[in-house]
């Protein structure tokens, strides 16, 4: 039962990672500008390096959280697990409420929670990305700006994966799938551009699906909180 709960929590965390909109939004802008400014090969290079940047930061953050959790829970001064679990529940509920209310700004378009100055600079970087390193940095930067929503998930997932018995192959498989989850939407965006869909269609779809994304994010955070209350406290 415990393993099933861990698997459930990790799958919900993967779902949240895949539904976060900042990295995919910046990536769609990069794809649009790169295909407008450069030949196909160079545009493709920039897109691949953006994905690599996003994946690298996801792996680094997950490993940092895994190491931090290992020291916290398996070190000599193990804290009261109940208190940590209640903190995780509180944070998940707060994030669920934030996703429902503040994830998207009011008004037209699909403007996100990030400050407008940051959004403008990300737009500018996406527009002016010339080299592979620019694209890689931009991908990593987007992963960092999503931290308010992803950091608690990395910590919860690291603990859950650690709690699973290492004999289960599923823990390795889940770790592998979890660190791949943030790039799944990027691969989908890249594929949509490859099959000749445009930024206009993607932007319209993002606006159309705003409420669906809000609901999925809030539902997943809330379910994680309920699973922790029922099975971990």
């Amino acid at each position: 039962m415990s393993v099933l709960v861990s698997v459930g929590i990790v799958i919900l965390a993967m779902l949240i990672m895949a539904f976060l909109q900042l990295t995919s939004g910046v990536f769609s802008l990069l794809c649009h500008y790169a295909s407008g400014k450069y030949p196909k090969k160079r545009a493709s290079d920039l897109e691949i390096f953006f994905i690599l940047g996003a994946e690298t930061i996801a792996v680094c953050l997950f490993l940092c959280c895994y190491y931090f959790s290992y020291i916290l829970f398996f070190g000599s001064s193990r804290p009261e697990t109940g208190i940590i679990a209640w903190i995780a529940v509180g944070v998940s509920i707060v994030l669920a409420v934030i996703c429902l209310t503040f994830y998207y700004r009011k008004g037209v378009g699909s403007r996100l929670f990030i400050p407008r100055k940051v959004a403008r600079s990300l737009n500018k970087y996406a527009k002016s990305a010339k080299t592979r390193s620019d694209a890689f940095t931009l991908g990593a930067l987007c992963g960092t700006y999503e931290l308010p929503f992803t950091l608690p998930l990395y910590l919860i997932t690291a603990v859950e994966i650690m709690e699973m018995n290492a004999e289960y192959y599923s823990s390795y498989l889940l770790t592998f799938l979890y660190i791949l989850a943030p790039i799944v939407p990027l691969l989908i965006v890249r594929w949509t551009f490859l099959v000749h869909h445009s930024l206009a269609e993607l932007a319209r779809a993002r606006v159309r699906d705003k409420n669906f994304v809000r609901f999925i994010l809030a539902f997943s955070y809330m379910t994680i909180a309920i699973l922790i209350i029922c099975f971990r406290i």
């Binding site: 649009h32 699909s110 930024l199």
Partner: protein, 81 residues
């Protein structure tokens, strides 16, 4: 107030990037862009100062006559993230 002169070259460059990104053939894109810029310049001929949003609205309105996706991207690209 922070003002700057209307930069037709910059507008043309931005529109060309958007057009190529949307897969509009370059000949057709150049023709749209010429028409749009000349109409926008004509409509603002009597005004000394215009805001960026006025310019955006006018260009978007003209672009919409030629290509709805082009107009949508031009008007909404800063509202995507």
């Amino acid at each position: 107030m922070n003002t700057k002169p209307f930069d037709e070259k910059l507008l043309r460059k931005e529109l060309k990037i958007d057009a190529r990104g949307l897969g509009i053939p370059s000949g057709a894109a150049d023709a749209f862009i010429d028409c749009v810029i000349s109409k926008v310049e004509k409509s603002f001929r009597n005004k000394k100062i215009i805001t960026e949003s006025d310019l955006k609205r006018a260009v978007g309105k003209e672009l919409k006559k030629y290509n709805a996706d082009f107009a949508y991207v031009y008007q909404n690209r800063d509202k995507i993230i």
